[in-house]
Symmetry: D2
Subunit: 359 residues, 4 copies
C-alpha cells in the first residue's frame, strides 16, 4: 500500500508479531503512510520466516521473507539504532521488562499489555503480581485517545487500553462526567469474540464447542479488567466508583458488544446522553449513533472507530449505554496507533481504517 | 427417554409445521414413546410434501410423504375425530383464532404463540392488539412446568411460555420468591441465537451480516416479552415488579444465555441462591449448576433442560443470576411437550432429550 | 424411535466417553429403548464425574453423577459381568488392545477406531504402524449396515466405518456396482466440519482461525481414509480401483458434504444412478433424494441418515455423486448403533433419530 | 486514511454502493492514495444517507452524510463533469445499460457485473438473455490483471472477472498454458462463502440454515460462471476445453476455496506446476505458496491477493490445483481496482491491502 510519503517514514518494530494484536498492528502499519515495518520480534517464533507464522503475508515483498528475531533486553540499545518506535504485544510482566529496556534505550514504546495501565502499583500487584518496572508507571500515559488527549502529545511510553475497558469506558465516561447517571450500581454486561482469548487454542475457543456456545465467565468482579474500568470511570466521574462487570464469550471471532446500565439522575434523557457523548467525542474516533440506531459489532470489524448509543427505559429510569468495537482494532492495535498518532502530533485517523470490513 | 408404550399412542397434530418450533416439535414427537404424528398443517406450505418443506425427513417412512394440509377453523370438528392433541405454532392472533376453534371442538391444545400467556387482557392488547378469543384466557394454563406444576394436570389449553421469559424467569423466580434480592432495579441482559427470529430470512439473520454481528435490539422496555417476564416474576415475588430487559442477537443459531442482576438482600450468598433454586427445582428439568460452573448454551442444544447458576459480587452486593437454554427446545417446543406430559399425568421428561447434541 | 421395550435392556459400556464420538453415543444410548448405559470409561478423565466432563448431563439422574473409570485390559473379565456390549472410542492401536481384551472376555464389541476396518493387515500397518491384534481381523465385520447387511447378524466384533469413507462409499458404491461409471479416475472432494478433528483444541480448530477458513489438507492420497475408501469401493465394484481423495476442513462443527466425480459409461443417466441407489438402499438409512434436490449437511445434523443425490453433466459426461452426513452421527456413533441393531437382529432404525436437529 | 497525495486524486463514483461489492469498493477507495469518493449511486437506496445504508461509515467525515443518488442514463453526461471513473455494481443487463451510457459520456468504467466478460455475444445471450449493449463488447477488456496485463493500460471499459472464474482460472491457467495437464476432464470443485449470494436475504443465507450447512448447488454445468471459466482457460490453453464445475455454499461470510483436478501429462510434478505459476505470476498479486503449504480462505480475507498451491497424486497421476481468494476482494472489488491501477499505468498493488484481516 501507499504512495511514498514525503518525509522518511518512522521505522516501526513489533514485538510479539505472531499473536493477534501483533498481526493486526502489522496490517495497520503496512497501510500507514508515515510508518514502515523495520523489525519483527517474538518469543516463540524467533528464527522463523514471517510468511510461515502469518501466511497472509505470503508473496508480499519485504514482508513474508522477514525473519522474526528473538529479543532479549540486552538488544535494546542496538535495536534503538534501527527503529524509532516499538509496539510490545507480550504477556504482562514479560512486556514490562521488555518495555523498560526499550524505553531506556531511547525508543518510543507502545505497550499493549496491562503493565502500565493501572496508575496504582498496589492495585496492579493485587491482580497481576509483582510489577517488574514500577518506576516507569509515572512516565506512562494511558493511551485512550479521546479521554487522555492532553497527555499524549510527546508521550514516550504509552499504555494501550484493554479491550473490555475500551468498550466499557467509552459509552459511560460522558455520562458519569456530566452527572447524568448515579455512579453507584453501574452494571456492565460485555460480550466478546473469542479472538480476545489470544492465538493459543483452548477448549473455550475450540470451534465445535465455541460456535454455538455463549457463556459468561469470570463473573462477579473477578476479571482483571475490572480495576482498569473503575480507574478510568472514577477519573471521568471525579469520584470513586465500583462496577459490576460480566464478560461473556460469544461465538464470533472479533468484536465486543457492551451494554451498560446505570440509574438515571433527574433530567437525564437519551438525547442528553447523546449530547454529552457528542461533546466529549467531538474529536477522535468515537461515533455517537443517531437516535434509533444501535451499535453492532458487524459494523466496526477492522475499524479504528467505536460506536456508542443510548436509551432510557422510562418505566425503570435506567439508562442503557451501548458500545460496539472491534476488540483487536479499536480495542487494541488501532487504538494503539491512534495514540501514537497523537503522541507524534498527527491526526487521530492518520493511516487508520475508519470504515471496517463489511460484511 | 424410554418407558414401555403399551397403550395406543396419542395422535398429535402440528399446525405450523414448517417453522422452527413446528419442526422441533416434529423431531420431539417422533422420539416420544406415547405420541404419534397424525396430522401436519400450515398456512403457507399447504399442499406440499413434508419432505419438500423439511428435507431432513426425506426417506423417513410415513413422514416425508405426509401432505401438509391447510387449516380453516371450520375444519376443527372434523380434525377432532382423527387427532387428540394439537400444537399451534402460528403467529399471534392467527394462533388464538385457530386454538379457539380447536379447543371448542374438544381437542387438547398447546399454543406456542403469545396469545394465552398474559393473564391480563388489557396488557395483551397494549402489546399485540385486539385479542381474538379473550373468553378463553381464564381456561388457559401458563405452561411453565416447574412454576405451574399444580395447574397443569388436566389442562386442555396450555400457553407455552416465550423463550426470553423462560430464560429470565427460571433463574430469578427462586430468588424473588425467597426474598434473597430486592425486587426493584432488576436488570436482565439476554443474548439469543437468531433462530429466535423465525424461519423468514431478514437482514439481521443474513449470515454475512449476522455471523460476526452481536447487537442489542428493542432496548429499554420495548420488547414484547417484557410484560410476560414481569407477570411471572411478580407472581413468584408476590408483589409487582418491573425489570429492565435488553435482548441481543448473537451470532449463533440456537440458544439463549441470560445474565440477570439484582441487589442482594442481607444474608444472601451464592450458595443460598443455589439452595433456593434447588428447592424450587427439585422436580422438573432445571439443572442448578454446582459452584464454579456457569451456564453455556453449548450444553443445552436440543435439550429440554435449562441450566442455572448464581454468583454474588461482594464488592457491589449484586447477585448475578445466569441461565442457558435452547430457545427452540426448552424455550419453546420441548417445554411445550413437558407441559403436555404434566397435563396428561406423565413424568416431566417422558420422551424428551435431557442431554443435548454435543458438540 | 419407540418399540415396546419389554425385555431387560442390554447394558452398554462406553470407553472413551469424553470425546465426541463417545458423547454422541451417550446421547443416542439414552434415547434407545433397549439399551441402558451401565459403564463409562476413559483414559484421560478417569475418576471424574461425568457431569464435569460433559456438562450437558448435569442434573440428569443416574448420568451426571456417574464416575468415569479407568480401563486396563485386566479389567475386561470383571467388566464382562456387568455389561453386555462395549463401544470403544479410543485412538487407533490403543483401541485394538482394549477391544481384543474385551472381545476375549466375551463382550460384544463395537470399535469406532480404524483398527479393524482394513481387511489387509499390510495395508493397515503401512498407514498406522504395527497392528496390536491382527489375529482378530478375520473376526471383525465392517459395520457399514447397508453394504454389509448379510455379515452383521450375530457379529461380535464390529468395525464402525470412518466418517470420510461413509460419505464417499455410500454415494459411489451403487454406481460402481451397477457399472454406470468408469472405475478409473474417480475424484472425491470432501468437506468436513471440524468436530472430525476431535475434542483436542488445535490451531486449525481455533475459532478465530477456523470460522472463516476453508482449506484442503492431506491432499493427493495422503489421508489415512484413502485405503478404507478404496477397499470398500473395490469390493462394490468387484475390481481394484483407486481414487483421488481431497479432504477439506470447513467452518462448521458437524457434517460432511462429499462431491464425487466419475466418468459416465454409455447409457448412464442421473435417473439410472438414482435407481441403482434406491435399489441398493431399499433397506436401511440412506435417503436417495428426488430429482432437483441436493444433499445439505444442514438436514442431517444429529441424524442417523445419509442423504445422496446424483447429476450428470451432459457436456462432459461426468457423473456427480453427492452425499451429506453428520460425521459424528451417521459417520460414527449412530452408524455404530445401527450396526449393533443389525448384529442383534433389531431393525436398523431402532432407537435412532432419523430426523435431525433443525435448524 | 491517507496523507494528501501530491497530484489531485481521481474522482470515483460507485453505482450500487449499498451492495457488498459496492461497499467493498468504498472501503478500498477510502484507503487508496490517488482516488477519492465523489459520488454514490444506487437503485434501491436512492435518497438515503450513506450512514443509514452502511452504518460502518457513521461518524466518518464526508462519508456518512453522503446522500445516495438515483441514476438514470440521462444523467451520464452531467455525471461526467464531476467524476472521472465509475464502478458499476448492478445486476447484469441493468449494468450494461448504465455502463454504456457512462462510457459514451466519456467516463472510464469498471463493470463488476457479467455483462462484458464473455467475448462471444451468443454465449452471453444463451446464459443471460439479450445483451443491452453488444456493440461495446469489442471495447471491453477482461480485467484479470495477471492474465490480461498487456490489454489493460489505457482501457476505458473494464469487465471485472467473476469470483468463481477468478479462483478457477488463476490456479489452472499456468498449467494448461504450460502443457502440464490434459485439458480434457478438468474438474473444478469450488466452495464459496455466502456473501457471494449478495446482500438480499434468502433461505440459503439465513444463518440458522446456513451456519451448519454446506451444500452443492447448480451442479453439472448449470452455473453461469461456467462459460467464463471455459473462455479464459481455453484462451490460456490455446485450445477449446470444457470443465466440470461444482459450486458449493459454505458456512462462512467471505472466501472461495477452489480445488481443481486435472490429469497430469508426462513429466508433470508439483514443483513444475509451481514453477509455471511462479513464472506466470512474477508480476501481480498471486502468491504461489511454498511446498507443504495449502491455501486457506482465512489468510486472504480482505486482501487483494490470491493464494495458489499444487500437489500431484502419484497413485492416480492427478494434479490437484488449489486456490483461495476473498470473493469480494480479489474475487471482485480489489481485483477491479487492481485492473484500474493497470489501466492508469499505476502499480498493481497501489492502495490495495495485500495482507488481509487476521483473524
Amino acid at each position: 500500500m501507499g504512495e511514498p510519503a514525503s518525509p522518511a517514514p518512522l521505522r516501526v518494530g513489533i514485538l510479539g508479531i505472531g499473536g493477534y494484536t501483533g498481526a493486526e498492528l502489522l496490517r495497520l502499519v503496512l497501510g500507514h503512510p508515515r510508518l514502515s515495518l523495520a523489525w519483527a520480534g517474538a518469543r516463540e517464533n524467533a528464527g522463523r520466516r514471517l510468511g510461515d507464522v502469518l501466511p497472509g503475508t505470503e508473496g508480499v515483498a519485504g514482508v513474508a521473507e522477514l525473519r522474526i528475531e528473538a529479543f532479549v533486553e540486552e538488544d535494546a540499545a542496538r535495536l534503538a539504532e534501527t527503529i524509532d518506535v516499538v509496539f510490545a504485544c507480550l504477556p504482562h510482566a514479560a512486556s514490562a521488562r521488555a518495555c523498560a529496556a526499550l524505553y531506556r534505550a531511547g525508543l518510543r514504546v507502545v505497550d499493549l499489555s496491562a503493565d502500565f495501565r493501572l496508575r496504582d502499583r498496589a492495585v496492579y500487584e493485587e491482580w497481576y503480581g509483582p510489577h517488574p518496572a514500577p518506576e516507569l508507571l509515572a512516565a506512562a500515559v494511558y493511551g485512550q485517545p479521546e479521554l487522555h488527549r492532553e497527555e499524549l502529545p510527546g508521550a514516550r511510553l504509552i499504555a494501550a487500553p484493554g479491550c473490555y475497558p475500551t468498550s466499557s469506558v467509552l459509552p459511560l465516561a460522558p455520562l458519569v462526567a456530566a452527572g447524568l447517571v448515579e455512579i453507584e450500581g453501574v452494571v456492565i454486561d460485555a460480550k466478546s469474540g473469542v479472538s480476545g482469548a489470544g492465538r493459543s487454542p483452548s477448549p473455550v475457543t475450540h470451534l465445535p464447542e465455541a460456535s454455538e456456545g455463549l457463556r459468561p465467565y469470570k463473573v462477579a468482579g473477578t476479571h482483571r479488567h475490572v480495576p482498569e474500568i473503575e480507574q478510568e470511570l472514577s477519573r471521568a466521574a471525579g469520584a470513586e466508583l465500583r462496577v459490576t462487570f460480566t464478560p461473556h464469550l460469544a461465538p464470533m471471532s472479533r468484536g465486543i458488544s457492551t451494554t451498560a446500565y446505570a440509574r438515571a439522575r433527574a433530567g437525564a434523557t437519551a438525547e442528553r446522553c447523546r449530547e454529552a457523548a457528542r461533546a466529549r467525542y467531538a474529536s477522535g474516533l468515537v461515533s455517537v449513533l443517531p437516535e434509533g440506531r444501535l451499535p453492532d459489532t458487524l459494523w466496526v470489524r477492522g475499524s479504528a472507530r467505536a460506536h456508542v448509543a443510548y436509551a432510557l427505559d422510562p418505566r425503570t429510569s435506567i439508562v442503557v449505554a451501548m458500545c460496539a468495537i472491534d476488540n483487536l482494532a479499536r480495542g487494541a492495535s488501532a487504538q494503539a496507533l491512534q495514540a501514537l498518532n497523537l503522541a507524534l502530533g498527527w491526526p487521530d485517523a492518520l493511516g487508520l481504517p475508519e470504515v471496517g470490513l463489511f460484511p
